[in-house]
């Protein structure tokens, strides 16, 4: 038996009205699966360095929205910028700015910014934080990287 258009419209309207009372939840809402992570890089020599800051679980996608770097180095050394990524070119960069360190023998640089970065669980799912140290490796240079974001289901 076929249902006529007016009857079908009435059924849909009734059903819609019934469900209009239902709470609606977004499966990808940022607050559903919030995640954060941090890692530390230390240098014994100048050059590039990286640390694993998060591993994206299988079947999930990571949305990173905020990244912070806090780096200590000697007064004559430099760390130009930090970044996060999976080792490929499309990473998210974070410029670092000097702030008072409270230690005359050490320089402190902070970088913090909103980003729009996504990473799947492909490969080993590793998300890395990275930075490069220039000029010297005195005074135990280090960078702590922190991120905040959320997981959604990979479709």
């Amino acid at each position: 038996m076929r249902i006529g258009t007016p009857a079908l419209f009435a059924v849909l309207t009734f059903a819609g009205a019934a469900y209009a009372q239902q709470p609606i939840r977004d499966v990808n809402d940022p607050s559903r699966h919030p995640v954060s992570g941090s890692c530390m890089m230390t240098w014994g020599n100048m050059g590039s360095n990286a640390c694993r800051i998060y591993t994206v679980p299988a079947g999930k996608k990571l949305a990173v929205r905020d990244v912070t770097f806090r780096c200590y180095m000697s007064n004559t050394a430099e760390i130009a910028y930090g970044g996060i990524g999976n080792g490929f070119v499309e990473d998210a960069l974070v410029p670092l700015q000097s702030v008072p360190s409270g230690n005359s023998a050490q320089k402190l640089k902070i970088g913090a910014r909103n980003v729009f970065y996504h990473q799947g669980s492909d490969g080993n799912g590793a998300m890395l934080a990275f930075a490069s140290l220039y000029h010297d490796a005195q005074a135990s240079p280090s960078c702590q990287a922190i991120f905040h974001g959320y997981l959604v289901d990979a479709i």
Binding site: E90, Y117, I155
Partner: protein
């Protein structure tokens, strides 16, 4: 229940489920559904404006660019002005601009600049290009590495 579920599935575009008195929905244009990234390298052999193609938006899609970074190197006697991202083919298309600030360089003879910015820049199907202007000289192989992050949405 079956009819109600049918109505629910009909009314919501992508997905909908009924469980414990609540509906779970998914936005077809959620930024996490179709995230995309692109990068390209601008190089100069002479001062002036140069561009590179950073992404091609597929038909029936629109890109929403949310993050841009330029990492540029030039000689100490040269400079690279602000970066630009431009999508769309019409003369009315407006670029998004990015200031490039000095950053420490590994080499003292190098002028290094970095620009990063969160943006909201929609662009239609077609090529999205990145460009910048080199001024004074083209010594020391000047270049800019440009990266964008964003997402695609359906336009139909």
């Amino acid at each position: 229940m079956t009819i109600a579920r049918f109505a629910c599935l009909t009314a919501l575009t992508f997905s909908c489920s009924v469980a414990y008195g609540q509906l779970w929905v998914e936005d077809v244009n959620d930024p996490t559904r179709q995230p995309v990234s692109g990068s390209c390298l601008i190089t100069w052999t002479a001062p002036g404006s140069k561009a590179c193609k950073i992404y091609t938006v597929p038909p029936e899609k629109r890109i929403i660019i949310r993050d841009i970074s330029f990492r540029c190197y030039a000689s100490n006697t040269a400079d690279i002005r602000y970066g630009r991202i431009l999508g769309g083919k019409t003369l009315l298309a407006q670029p998004v601009l990015l200031p490039l600030l000095p950053m420490p360089s590994e080499q003292s003879a190098q002028n290094a600049r970095l620009g990063v910015r969160s943006v909201f820049y929609p662009a239609p199907p077609g090529d999205v290009t990145a460009s910048a202007d080199l001024i004074n000289d083209a010594n020391a192989s000047p270049s800019c590495h440009v990266i964008i992050h964003g997402y695609l949405v359906d336009t139909h």
